[in-house]
Amino acid sequence: MAEKVLNIATDQGVDAEAFLLHNRELSIEVNNAQVETLKQAEEIGLGIRIIKNGCLGFTYTSDLADNAIITAVKNAINIAQFTTPDEHNSLPKKQENYPELGFLYDDEFNTINIDEKINLAKRVEEIAQNYDNRIKIVESATYEDTEFSSLIVNTNGLYACEKANYGGIYVFLVAEEQGIAENGYAMMVNRKLYDINPELVAKEATQNALRSLNAKRIDSAQLPSIMEPYIMTKFMGLIAQMINANAVQKGKSLFANKEGEIVASPIFNLVDDGLLQDGIASFPFDSEGVGSRKNDIITKGILQGFLYDTYTANKAGINSTGNAARGSFRGLPTVGTTNFTILPGDKTPKSLISDIEKGFYITEVMGMHTANPVSGDFSVGAAGIMIEQGELTYPVRGVTIAGNLIDFLQDIDAIGNDIRFFGGRSSPTIRLKSLSIGGE
């Protein structure tokens, strides 16, 4: 099929790339020890990128019949006559030897019986329900696994093909005391089926809900603040856009022209590693077939560089960093992160708290998608626990935290020696000197 795309393109004298993605998914949601929703899915699709005299055309199709593919290629070539020519549009060259990653595929996902997968979800629910009598509702306990194969070929002779799988469990629950209800959530995603641990997930979600009960409101203040790893990974979504070469080149990043400069606290180290051992986002090549690698982004607070795909790298006159990403076969590749990691520091999370006389320990943020990656401004809802005399005291909700990411990164004054992964992002516990908290 992919060959067909290239043959038509060659006949028409244009450069072409075929991206074929096959995806299989299983999701089991359990409620009261019954399978409430079982979803099985299979999806296949082809994305076609054409470059004709520097002009870009793109189409996709889920119909892989001969005539549908021919139509899609012709449409992509047709579209290319309307886009603005750009000398930096090019397809990657043929790549030699992609790295071999032995951990991408765990056959156990295919060999075990579906009942065992159902049991994983049931276990999470059962443990959570019986953990504490204040856990009133387990909203959902879910097992999910995904397997995908990706094939990329282009008219430069590039050929890349690999498959991977992973699975995980998720739980949402509600604790209630004196008529007031609070949520708890936890997840675990793993490359190895037998590393998935329902006890840990159930306990974490339960504790998250229980610690939020009987929350108070507080007055507005400027306080030293601690971000749990999960909260920090949400902020990393904003950072990811600021170090994206596409945003940088278009004047949409506060980090533009700051390579080699201090952009964060000297204890802050940020890397993106497409080959990370057991990483959920690890893959031998990126979404246009360029070999994956590890990229240092911020080292000891100094900005080392940005993440590039082939187009943005051409524009900058350097090599792609292997960060072309696509969410599906339906779009062109853009710049994206892989395993995006803040490196752990040397202090225990506990000591980060015990140093604070009065502060705020943040356990939840709301409306993170409203933060602005271009201006760096964020103002989001938050909940957490007050720190007094070095101890976690009472829970707080209904407040906001606000600031600008530039100040945020400079204000980091301690980093924990813990690290937690949430999908492709991971972070230790982080402490800020001061943060604006909006309350009563």
Partner: protein
Amino acid sequence: MLNKNVLTKILDIALKKGGDFAEIYVEEKTVNNIFCEDNKIERINGGIEKGAGIRVINAGNTAYVYTNDLTESGLLNSAITASNALVNANSAPISNINLQVRKPNYTLDCLKQPDNMGIEDKITKILDANKLARNISEEIRQVTIAIGDSKKKLQIANSNGVYVEDERLRVRLIANIVSGRDNLIQTGYESAGGVCGLELLDEFSLEALAEKAANLSLNMLDAKPAPAGKMPIVMAAEAGGTMVHEACGHGLEADLVQRGLSVYNKKGEKVANEKVTVIDDASIPSKYGSYVFDDEGEVGQKTILIENGYLTNYMYDYLTAEKDKVKSTGNGRRESYQHKPIPRMSNTYIAPGFDKPDEIIKSTKKGLLVKKMGGGQVNTTNGDFVFEVSEGYLIEDGEVQYPVRGATLIGNGPIALTQIDRVANDIGYAIGTCGKDGQGVPVADAQPTIRIKELTVGGTAIDHDNLTIKRIRRK
């Protein structure tokens, strides 16, 4: 499109091992997007995707299977998978399914088919808007203009004999402007969208959207940091309805109510100020959340959720309606064939009242005027919601003063609804993509100019004098 005999056969197979209900949803979606950034037509994307989702329900539990393989054998295989996935189905198979075409209650017209406008003409409009925005000021650093249209052809058939065919056109226009001064960068975003054809461009020209977004981003360069703390909030009609969507819309979706996950399990009770009436209406012509049939083949309708402060109804899909033994309100929606339908909003709004917008501002001594809202989020379990203020102004002594930036508002749904003390006689819409359970669906929200007695503003400018006064008062 598949013929009815094939669909019937698939439903029969899906129910072979028992089950109370089976459904097949077939979708063919064509998408066209033109995207201009960096002063050039950077991307044109087009694509076509076909797929089907088969659902079997037994005793409230669901098996859902989807596939891109729309051949008869492919679909029958998926039906078998769905049937096998049902654990402990014990009801007898339903037989003699007789598919009857369901008639719509109304139509949503498309005056200008997007296919009839050439790519060149769309590009001309886009480039004109790009040029206009760039000429407004030297501080404009980046301009993004996009037109997207999509066509979804649907076929839905279920074991209750419902058969629906539908075609939905949707158009969306976007202008995003970045302006900068020294190290400060601000953005302005404007969008318009509807279930309609390119006549949308007559109502909202791309140039006008671009100009508005450009002025907003420039305006925000001059803005002062927003205050932090509680204060009265006036929301202009033009700000749209993100607040109502988050503060009560989600909590009135029947699945959340039935699971005990909503603070609004209070049907018949007073939950809002008597000036407040909240309505969800899929039948409004050309709005972004409109539809003739929902994604389960139920006819779209207008549902009064809160009437004069009293909670009157929830939004139901088929499954939750069965559970409450009521009729679906036509709110069963899904992002695509890859998702099972769940209760979702369509076009949700607070109905206009009798106050005059100007007088609401004039009667506010100190507060925040919200002229444009961005995204939001709600925790339906405790009712806390947030939404972004993308254009805000401080009100002092009834007069609109300077613009402020960086403010999110946080409040609690049930409390905020009782604190709406003014409702004006105007109305304004905003469009969005609403996310729930990993599914995004297009919605519109609207409201008149309203005032909420107090919400917490999440700015960075903390007024320490004010804090002290507040503390004393509390003692």
